[in-house]
């Protein structure tokens, strides 16, 4: 049985479709991240699951139970809000126990859960304080504490780390992941930060314009982006996308004379290359002729911006390479590292489509 199951869920705001026939599942005990740019519908999806908004069509199931028509309090879930939603006039302890008091949980049981949450989160000395007397990170912990003591099987988090500074965000990322695993709860986590998604998630659901773009494990999302959008969204710098054109000996990068990348036409296609898979071509190797636009030295490696025909690409070159702007460079890449996309549909074209980019370099060599 799935911890969460969405079936064709849609939500309309006036003319705009905020959530468009979204269907996905989450395994019990897993951490699933809803990732996407702002306005992609990920927060709305979370609110639909929480019951804070009503779905227009479709069904929401939690633990196999249809909760579509139930109010938030009966959906058996906890939620951490972006703004933490702490009650400013209540102490930390009262904030954490708010829901248990509302649900009339016995006093001894409340005390037990509070003590446990306080220990897990290191809030021991702060229980009598008001939220206004806490730092952002501590407030975040109180919000987590409130979610933990509810002891619900499902927890929703809406950009919980976006108000923290970079270092604290890093720490909390690990902490939330560890907490989720030790408590064994299912966590549905909304973020626009791909690093957060990639480092924490068991599965990432990438959303764009209300639709699911790709639903996959982080590694697959990175290695086999299903669409141009996924390719552009994941990775820093993101995947290079080079439009192709028909050449005499096969498809070529648009605006270059060659070398041909594979037999057949290239019009309407784009070649995808991760920056770190591109290397400088040896003297004997055939490579793509490029011109250096700029180089950014980062210590361990450099990000070099190149121009090849009409396309621009960023490559990550190891070591202290400091090419000068205007310098010509020939680059190559392993065939397996190349991705091919259809520009008109935006979808990935696989080997199944009969195109084997791996063959290209072998032939070129």
């Amino acid at each position: 049985m799935q911890a969460i199951r969405l079936e064709e869920v849609s939500k309309q705001w006036g003319e705009a479709r905020a959530v468009d026939r979204v269907t996905f599942e989450a395994e019990p005990g897993s951490l699933v991240v809803l990732l996407g740019p702002s306005g992609c519908g990920k927060s709305t999806t979370l609110r639909l699951i929480a019951g804070l908004e009503q779905v227009d069509t479709g069904r929401v199931l939690i633990d196999g139970r249809d909760v579509t028509a139930l109010p938030p309090s009966q959906r058996r879930l906890a939620m951490v809000f972006q703004s933490y939603a702490l009650f400013p006039h209540l102490s930390v302890a009262e904030n954490i126990l708010f829901g248990l008091t509302a649900r009339r949980v016995a006093r001894t049981e409340r005390a037990r859960r509070l003590a446990r949450a306080a220990e897990l989160l290191g809030l021991g000395g702060l229980l009598e304080r008001k939220p206004g007397q806490l730092s952002g990170g501590q407030q975040q912990r109180v919000a987590l504490g409130r979610a933990i003591v509810a002891e619900q099987p499902l927890c929703l988090m809406d950009e919980p780390l976006s108000n923290l500074d970079a270092q604290l965000r890093q720490e909390m990322r690990h902490e939330i992941r560890a907490l989720q695993q030790s408590l064994g709860m299912t966590l549905l986590y909304v973020t626009h930060d791909q690093a957060e998604a990639m480092s924490m998630a068991d599965r990432v659901i990438l959303m764009n314009q209300g639709r699911i773009e790709q639903d996959a494990a982080p590694a697959e999302l990175y290695d086999r982006p299903a669409s141009l959008f996924a390719a552009r969204f994941i990775g820093t710098p993101p995947m290079n996308l080079l439009p192709l054109a028909d050449g005499p000996g096969g498809a070529v990068v648009r605006g270059t004379a060659g070398p041909p990348l594979f037999a057949g036409g290239g019009e309407g296609l784009a070649l995808g290359l991760r920056p770190e898979t591109v290397t400088l071509a040896g003297a004997a190797e055939e490579g793509l002729a490029t011109e250096v636009l700029a180089a950014e030295y980062l210590g361990a490696d450099s990000i070099v911006a190149l121009r090849a025909g009409e396309a621009r690409l960023s490559v990550r070159l190891a070591g202290r390479i400091r090419p000068q702007p205007g310098e010509p460079l020939r680059v190559t890449w392993p065939g397996a590292a190349a991705h091919l996309f259809d520009l008109s549909t935006g979808r990935r074209l696989d080997e199944a489509a009969g195109i084997r980019l791996g063959a290209v370099r072998r032939r070129l060599a």
């Binding site: 929480a50 019951g51 804070l52 109010p71 938030p72 309090s73 959906r75 879930l77 906890a78 939620m79 809000f81 703004s83 939603a85 009650f87 400013p88 006039h89 209540l90 708010f98 829901g99 008091t101 509302a102 649900r103 008001k130 206004g132 409130r146 509810a150």
Partner: protein, 311 residues
Amino acid sequence: MAESLAPSVDRPSTRRPAGRAAAGQGGLAGWLLLLPAAVLLAAFTHYPAVATFLHSLYSTPRGSRPAHFVGLDNYQAMIQDPVFWQSLWNNAVYALGTIPAAIALALVMALWVNGRIRGRGLLRLAYFTPTVLPMIAVANIWLFFYTPDYGLIDQVGHLFGAGAHNWLGSRSTALACLMVVTVWKEAGFFMIFYLAALQQIAPVLGEAAAIEGAGRWYFFRRVTFPLLMPTTLFVLVNAVINAFRVVDHVVVMTRGGPDNATELLLFYIYEVAFKFWDTAYGATLTMVLLAILAAVALGQFLYFDKRVHYR
């Protein structure tokens, strides 16, 4: 205070003797800036208060007899004045009857028009209308409502077979009638403050509470009402002051009658000072009113300050 107002560029830690002299000059400038406000305050607030106190220790000047010092004689007379006690009692009943009712009604109305209902803009306007109207106009409207036999209330009463009743002319109902007018007028005004405060409460708090399983009443009791406490305190202070300060409707509707049943303290002061021209006794009564207001306001702030969460 003068120093903090002084436009000095020196930081305290680097202030040298020369800087001190500059600060002295700045201090003068600060006092000069304060002067207009201080003069106005002293001339129209502090001096009248002190003068009233002094007048209360003198006799009322009449014709050829100038005022002379009588000590506490005026206060002595006041204690033996049954009308004074009657007006004080009336005022206490009036305050206790109108303030909680007006505040509770304001809160309920604010909670209602804060919700998602249709035409809530019109509803808010409708509730606020009594506040916009001058009390004199309000009193005249209600005067018609209360008119025996052909007033609105009696006309409605006739439909249910009730007889005519002289609402304002009867000792037992006159004060209650004035209280209804006051609640009707004040509630809309207080509602605006509650409405503003309610809109300051982040909706996400309600969402969090809903997920945590808090019902409406629990949420109101644990979150909304405590977060409205600063507003409640403000409204309460205003309501108490108004209960002793606004007597326009008494003038229009009953003039303190029948048989002093609607005699409020301020109206009595007005009668004594400007109808009977007993200015010294008027000053004496005014001191009592001032003392009551000061005590109430001070008590409210001292009591509530510890219990109110200010954001």
